[in-house]
């Protein structure tokens, strides 16, 4: 049985008495909602492609992270190497296009050199094959998270850069590829002993899908930095960017 209205127990505190507190709580919870759910709903639109302040802040944080990564990097620290038995089979094809779109090496292919290099004459593939090689079995880690172990052999990039008289004080080494891809790395990473211009994959000359005739293999960076089907190398102080970097992958991408 419900009590008549007048006989209801009188609340010891009325809304009027605590109105300032109620308003305060209301404001605070509104603020929290704004900061959390509503805010997140708006922020999910920030994907590095807009000109919003949030995207600008994200880009700025990535530049900061690049500096932290460069500071963490040591040319003496080597990526772990594995026995032949650890090699992943079958090795996964990966590019910014599908496997049927792989491009064969152009018949008149030469490796072009430009920028802060003294000997800029183009290199034939035979000339590259004549240089001393190194072999590595290392883990290729994709920015997507998956990883697999492969075997590459080729000319250490530091030896090649020395041979052509590159300016080691320059900041960047950039790679342009005939499949439309491009990327760039910092000079200290370029001079790392495990950074190689790979000519062989799994003990065989590179097939077109693995980057023929020459590709970069750099186990101290994420997989997308190991450019395939290289056409031109440049040594430069002007930030070269790259195919994925220009869209928002963080540039340093060190492992």
């Amino acid at each position: 049985m419900s009590l008549p209205r007048t006989e209801r127990i009188k609340p010891s505190v009325t809304a009027d008495e605590i109105r300032p507190e109620l308003i305060g709580i209301g404001r605070r919870s509104a603020l929290m909602r704004g900061l959390s759910l509503g805010g997140l709903a708006m922020l999910t639109g920030c994907d590095l492609s807009t000109h919003s302040g949030v995207d600008a802040a994200l880009w700025a944080m990535m530049r900061f992270d690049d500096r932290v990564q460069a500071a963490l990097f040591s040319r003496k620290r080597l990526a772990q190497t594995y026995p032949v038995s650890a090699v992943t089979e079958p090795f996964r094809f990966n590019a910014y296009y599908q496997e049927w779109q792989v491009r064969e090496m152009p018949p008149d292919w030469r490796l072009e050199l430009s920028g802060r290099i003294t000997e800029k004459a183009p290199w034939t593939i035979d000339k590259l094959h004549a240089l001393p090689r190194e072999t590595q079995i290392t883990r290729h880690i994709c920015i997507e998270g998956w990883s697999q172990i492969g075997q590459w052999s080729g000319v250490p990039l530091h030896a090649f850069l020395q041979r052509v008289g590159a300016d080691f004080k320059a900041r960047y080494v950039s790679f342009k590829c005939f499949d439309g891809y491009s990327t760039s790395i910092d000079m200290p990473s370029a001079l790392h002993p495990q950074t190689i211009l790979a000519l062989d994959f799994l003990d065989k000359p590179l097939g077109p899908e693995w980057g023929a005739p020459v590709r970069l293999r750099i186990p101290t960076k994420l997989g997308y930095k190991s450019a395939k089907n290289i056409q031109a190398i440049a040594v430069t102080n002007a930030y070269p960017g790259g195919y994925w970097e220009d869209q928002g992958y963080d540039w340093f991408s060190g492992s």
Partner: protein, 191 residues
Amino acid sequence: MHWVGAAAVICMILSGWAIYNASPSLAFRFPRWMTLGGWLAGGIAWHITAMWVLFVDGSAYLLYGFCSGHFRRDITPRGPGAVIHDMWAALTGRLGHRLGHYNAVQRLLYAGVIAVICVSVVTGLSIWKPVQLGWLADLFGGYPIARFIHLAAMICIVLFLIVHLTLVVIFPRTLVAMLTNTAVEPKETAS
């Protein structure tokens, strides 16, 4: 510290889902509207930005928790007997709830989630820098296993959040206490 940390953890989880979707280890993907960053690069940008917030806030919180005695006094887990006792009391509706005082189940959950967040940060560092911090990745059994532990830690944190938020909904006055930064029981009103 709780709210900054909470925002950072939520950002880490939602942007982590965007990264997970690029190469899912389990047989599902997160719906795009649930993720932060829109795509892989955006997810990573959010992840390595919120990482710093979590790192700074989390370090300050750990320092405060250990130095002030908050951890020792309030969330050091009690024995399994106390947990079972308090869990039973809670399920039968006989467990009192005093603001600012944690029962054995809460102690276990709060200490547990702090430990799991620490594990997720450390495994996250090891898969961010598996060469430069190779010793750390080795500690977890190498890159692929460290990545899996990172995923498992996320799942534990999400499960915790579900329980945590459900309880806040059931006991909304705890939210008021958290928002107003007071842990004072309202005075019993004479009736």
